[in-house]
């Protein structure tokens, strides 16, 4: 299974990539991952890949070969959608983060991103920031989305929860667990 993750610096993407790897590893799969984190903490684009299988060589995923795209921000979903194979799935957080060009009004932010997603893939869209804030913090967007992702992967929920409980800060554990569950449950019936 090939998963691409994309988002904006500061959204916790690197931690998410490492948690997905850990989950795959404990479930007995071979895996490799990658994060491209150049200037990520400063609002730049950041993306990663996770490859899971019996034997994995390169961590890199070719265009048109990804099964899943976990987009933590809509524009970053559009940027990577060409990497999905036909019938692949985009899971996208609809909460927008304006890039410089939109802030400076050089070009409008593509609010119609749902219409711009490919027609030959499945799109699962949620305002995950709103869900997270409802739970009590804006910082768990990544974990709520991991809950959504877990629906598409044949790995026991306990493995996911075990990894989350080891990797997130103790003080935020409960909110993260609630977030993961919410993500997992929320996904039903919300497909576009």
């Amino acid at each position: 299974m090939n998963i691409i993750l994309s988002g904006v610096g500061g959204q916790g993407l690197v931690l998410t990539t490492s948690m997905i790897c850990e989950v795959a590893f404990r479930a007995g799969y071979d895996f490799k991952s990658n994060d491209v984190v150049g200037l990520s903490q400063r609002g730049g684009k950041v993306w990663g890949s996770v490859k899971i299988g019996e034997k994995v060589y390169s961590p890199n995923i070719e265009k048109g070969k990804a099964d899943l795209l976990l987009a933590l921000e809509p524009l970053e979903g559009l940027r990577w959608q060409d990497y999905l194979k036909k019938d692949g799935t985009i899971i996208v957080n609809t909460s927008e983060v304006y890039p410089v060009f939109a802030i400076a009004e050089q070009a409008p932010y593509p609010h119609d991103f749902l219409d711009q997603f490919r027609k030959d893939v499945h799109v699962v869209a949620e305002d995950v920031l709103k869900i997270s804030q409802g739970i009590g913090t804006s910082k768990i967007v990544n974990v709520v989305m991991m809950g959504m992702l877990a629906r598409y992967m044949d790995i026991p929920l306990d493995t996911w929860k075990e990894v989350i409980s080891e990797k997130v800060p103790e003080a935020f554990l409960e909110m993260n667990m609630t977030g993961f569950d919410r993500g997992y449950e929320n996904i039903i019936g919300d497909s576009y």
Binding site: G38, G43, L78, V100, F101
Partner: protein, 593 residues
């Protein structure tokens, strides 16, 4: 002990720990930063430090190795340029304690100012170069590197690319082996590198590399993977090997773990069994050139780019061109239209924002340096006019001034430099301003003291502890500069926008040498937790002065009941630094209470 998932950086730290490593030194630079951080946090048996720059880190490493300690020095590729002076002489000595230099190369330049291929340093310094292809090999090669270093009395380069530094894969853990520190023994012929002691060192270097080239098979670091059904032999190394394997092609592969020296005789013998030999390597034709010099017929850069990464699809395309594989008529992947770019920008609350907003308005020539503030060259700020290398801004400003004056084109010049970069190599440039200084040189140095080496994730530097980060150095920067002999040093809080603007403008106008130091710390490391701000749309005149400060939470939006768009601030992102409220000409931006 089982397996664990590790990045390349983590695996190298682990390998050094298991190999009984004693001392690790580094200067933070992407992609290698996390390696030393990992040692600092997890392996207390090892003495680890982020030194003031790469040269010093390397020298600390030399001392450790001289005393018989197993040593690891790490830096990004351009850092090796800074350390090249001690490297090129240290390599002449007979290495005592195992010495590995980790060089983080950045093909494709994800976060670097150039793309130099540091494998060439290996040849330049008669130094073996190891090139791992995943985390397990990264760990194994550190251990092997230390052993090669001690056996052949040579420093060893562990070359790793940015992808592998950050890539994760499973690594088999082992216990730490304690290695005795033998201590320092006076041996002037070996440690006193002046002629004539250096004469026979040239032969030592040549001999050890030749010997290693003949004995590579003993290490088991290179691997031949023959296939019966092909006339093609592909020679490759590193992540490129993994990308090639992903293609699942029926070709013979010779995977190098050590790219210098090459096992020439073995490759020569193999070459006789194949019609065609293809070399696949990123950046320079390093392996290819060595083979060609030895008269082994091969091709490489004819089919593969000399710049950027070679990903799976690049390798496929190159192999199709070379006639190794048949072009597959793969279904054309759907290409979506162009997606709006996303440039990096200063964080919400970043102390550089008001400074660059002020500098933009001065419309002067501004010489940049390396750090987060390098982003001041990007749209929409476009404040900086040049960026070259660490600490270079002040020297460049001086030379530009002298020549402009010569041509009768004198203008005020400004250099901006951060505290970390200043300590790294800006201090020398500053001191040099005092030499052949003319009173009418109008030069201004803006020292952005944010209390940390921010770009690489907030490592402490020589004045960080004055910001209360718990580190152990507390250099008083204005005092240091005054002691050097500069009498015009002004210190300003840039979050007092009006005052900062006044001071910066005054100093740029001032005929002579002046230094302005700003005081606000990095907002990423030293979080600002003030009540956030909001825009009152009934007061806002839509002039966009706040938008032009280029702050992540601020953009224009529609409000109910207003025809025109007005400014807005996303409350989930605003940290309350107040800069936008200070630039607003009508008081439309208010603090939430």
């Amino acid at each position: 002990m089982g397996k664990e998932l590790m990045t390349g950086n983590q695996a190298i730290a682990r390998g050094f720990y298991e190999a009984g490593g004693h001392l690790a030194a580094s200067y933070p630079g992407s992609p290698t930063v996390e390696m030393l951080e990992e040692i600092k946090h997890n392996y207390k048996e090892i003495y680890a430090e982020f030194s003031i720059n790469e040269k010093v880190a390397f020298e600390v490493g030399i001392g450790s190795s001289f005393a018989g300690g197993r040593t690891l020095v790490s830096m990004k590729h351009v850092g090796v340029n800074v350390a090249a002076d001690p490297l090129m002489t240290f390599t002449q000595t007979r290495t005592k304690g195992g010495f590995v230099l980790m060089s983080g190369d950045d093909p494709g330049m994800a976060s670097s100012q150039n793309e130099q291929d540091n494998r060439l340093f290996g040849k330049f310094a008669f130094m073996p170069v190891l090139d791992p292809s995943d985390s397990q090999e990264a760990k194994d090669y550190v251990k092997m590197g230390l052993e090669i270093s001690e056996t052949y009395e040579t420093p060893v380069m562990l070359r790793i690319t940015s992808r592998l530094c950050h890539s994760r894969s499973a690594v088999e853990l082992g216990p730490r082996v304690e290695v005795e520190i033998k201590g320092f023994e006076r041996d002037i012929k070996n440690f006193g590198m002046i002629p004539p002691n250096t004469f026979d060192k040239q032969f030592h270097m040549k001999d050890r590399i030749e010997k290693l080239g003949k004995e590579t098979f003993k290490l088991g670091i290179n691997r031949y993977e023959p296939s019966e059904k092909t006339d093609f032999l592909i020679i490759t190394s590193g992540l490129v090997y993994q990308n090639l394997k992903t293609l699942e092609q029926d070709v013979s592969i010779y995977k190098l773990g050590m790219v210098y020296p090459l096992p020439i005789e073995e490759l020569r013998n193999l070459s006789e069994q194949y019609e065609n030999i293809i070399v696949i390597e990123e950046m320079m034709p390093f392996i290819e050139d060595q083979l060609k010099i030895e008269g082994i017929k091969c091709e490489g850069k004819k089919f593969f780019s000399f710049t950027g990464e070679l990903d799976v699809s690049d390798i496929r395309a190159g192999l199709e061109k070379a006639g190794v594989i048949e072009p597959v008529d793969s279904a054309v992947a759907q290409e979506s239209g162009e997606v709006m770019g996303r440039l990096p920008m200063f964080c919400a609350g970043c102390p550089h924002r008001p400074v660059f907003d002020i500098l933009k308005k001065t419309k002067k020539t501004i010489i940049g340096d390396i750090g987060c503030y390098s982003m001041g060259i990007l749209y929409p700020l476009e404040v900086l006019d040049t960026i070259i290398s660490m600490g270079a801004s002040i020297g460049i400003m001086k030379g530009m001034n002298k020549v402009l004056k010569m041509a009768g084109k004198k203008e005020p010049l400004v250099a901006v430099i951060g505290d970390g970069t200043f300590y790294h190599s800006g201090m020398t440039g500053l001191l040099n301003l005092l030499h052949r200084y003319d009173p009418d040189d109008n030069l201004t140095v803006i020292l952005l003291n944010n209390g940390t080496t921010a770009m690489t994730g907030g490592q402490p530097n020589a004045s960080s502890s004055s910001y209360g980060d718990g580190s152990d150095m507390n250099v008083d920067l204005p005092k240091l500069i005054a002691t050097m002999g500069f009498d015009r040093v002004r210190v300003v809080d840039q979050f007092d926008y009006k005052e900062a603007k006044k001071v910066i403008e005054e100093e740029i106008r001032f005929e002579g040498l002046s230094i302005v130091m700003t005081t606000r710390p990095c907002a990423l490391k030293f979080k600002i937790k003030e009540p956030n701000f909001y825009v009152d749309p009934s007061v806002c005149i839509a002039c966009r002065t706040c938008v032009k400060t280029n702050c992540p939470p601020i953009h224009m939006k529609d409000y109910k009941g207003f025809d025109k768009q007005k400014s807005s601030i996303d409350p989930s992102m605003c940290v309350g630094c107040s800069v936008c409220s200070q630039v607003c000409p009508v008081g439309a931006i208010k603090r939430r209470v």
